[in-house]
Amino acid sequence: MTSTVNDPYAGTTHSTDGPVFTVTGQDWDTIDASAVEGDHLVINMGPQHPSTHGVLRLVLEIDGETVRDARAGIGYLHTGIEKNMEFRTWTQGVTFCTRMDYVAPFSNEAAYVMAVERLLDIEVPEKAQAMRVLLLELNRISSHLVCLATGGMEIGALTVMTCGFRDRELILDLFEMITGLRMNHAFFRPGGVAQDLPDGAIEKLRSTVRLLKKRLPEYAALCNANPIFKGRLKGVGHLELAGCLALGLTGPVLRATGYDWDLRKKQPYWGYDTYDFEVVTRNEPDAYGRFRVRLDEMWESVKIVEQAIERLALMEGQPVMVADKKIAWPAQLSVGADGQGNSAEHIKHIMGESMEALIHHFKIVTEGFRVPAGQAYGAVEAPRGEIGCHVVSDGGTRPYRAHFRDPSFVNLQATSVMSEGGMLSDVIVAIASIDPVMGGVDR
């Protein structure tokens, strides 16, 4: 037994896998010798760490600098979102699921809303589809910028971080103008989107895209041929196509192996087949290849955003919610003179003119609509891969079960494969190249 029995943080517990030793800096020979195999050190890169991309715990068995065994411990951000959604209406479910993958919130909403709309058997209006595509692609750019920024920070390239967050602010300003929030917008609703584009949005979108096109080449100039960057990233986290498919990896990791699987092209939704863009692939299945894929994907997203802006400019005044009043969110929200609340005509109608309209508004908002019983799976191409939502309805006002197939959760299974045999510093780079977001991993 160890001499640290009195230390509340360093003791020995027994689990189904055998004894578990908590190490807090004492000498190695005071720990049970049988657990430490020869010269191998077992170290814990704990949940609080600047480089593990969030609250990820890595237990590494290292031999010198080489990693022999790597295991990821997750669940430090488990929020019970899926169970919480079972106690909220279908529309309120959007506000919960949006906080899973918090760097790309629109893609979570998109998967959920797609599954619910499939259960409802409705088709959203064209303007709502165009707005969804616009916001999803802007989110893809901002998410890839966060990936570059945090990945750069983790390997020590702090300039990439400052540039990345600076340019992300441009996109967050757009989100704030359109949806009202910088992050975690509950904007996609079953049936359409919550609000129409505000005045001046098209012009602001155009000017931001112009500015983005000037800023995006900076990353390529800073990183692509940088010998330190290449030295850190080339050959790290190598995973070929067979490995990716077996482990269920999708997204830039899969496309960096050369396989052009992208749900936007293969199983298009919301008009993606009418936009002109390419699927970016590359034949370098390592961290450098994934980085280049993400850079190029940002350019493709800019192309889609420009096309979406042109379409939206022609769709002034079209509805953004489905016409069926039994599902549609009741009012076009507009900010009044007091900085609050609903559109004045709607309020005048429900309060002054029609009792039935008031009752209907009340019922739709508090009870919500009922979704016919059954189950559906909606999948969307998120910046990290395929995000899917398996929704089961029992015909009521609440989801009976909503399960999210989060890309980060599945992608993170490749940690062991990518890290074992490499060096300790390569573990950081490998995980950064998978780009997991722990909110999505743990839900």
Binding site: F87, Q267, A376, Q413
Partner: protein
Amino acid sequence: MSETQDGSHETRDELVRADTTQLEVVEVREGAFGAHGTGDTSGFGGLTRPVIMPGATQRPYGGWYDEVADRLAGGPGLGDAVEKVVVDRGEITFYIRRQLLLETVTHLRNDPVLRFEFCSSVSGVHFPHETGRELHVAYHLLSMTHNRRIRLEVTTPDDDRHIPSVVPIYPTADWQEREAWDFFGIIFDGHPGLTRILMPDDWPGHPQRKDYPLGGIPVEYKGATVPPPDQRRSYS
């Protein structure tokens, strides 16, 4: 109706025909807002709401579903692997007997016509009212070669929660099956390391089961206290 999401181009009307799908009443709920029976004067007590799920679909299923169903049933030893087929809202669900799950999944992956080489998602669902078949596990399979999606659903009773693990065929199901164990208590036989993944290692109970409370606390506001979401009055 609109086209299905996958690569096939048949419209959804061709794939789902109302006369071929039976409806199945799985549960009848009575009362709402905690009021039951006719003695209650608000009227909510007398409400009855049947929960009707889509039941088995009769042949022909439409589109490429028949080809897949035939090929699946024709696999080695898989004659009665499929209990029921449901075609609903542009998606096909095969209910597989759990004893034959591993063989079914092997055949689905290896057969060149089927080629479902990608397992997207493994999710558990708990239906407490379906005695004998309480726990369902839904496997969403994707064929990248043919650009198709199907769903396999396996049921298991609550008192004998064992399902063979598909990790030997789809390694991606590793963490997903651990999650199903963690949240529903379904034991996957043959899994390389079935431990808790999202909850703390020593957590009692399986949180996403319907008999596990949401676990919230009442929230204190100025002058009032609001009960947690699972204890508020609700529609049935």
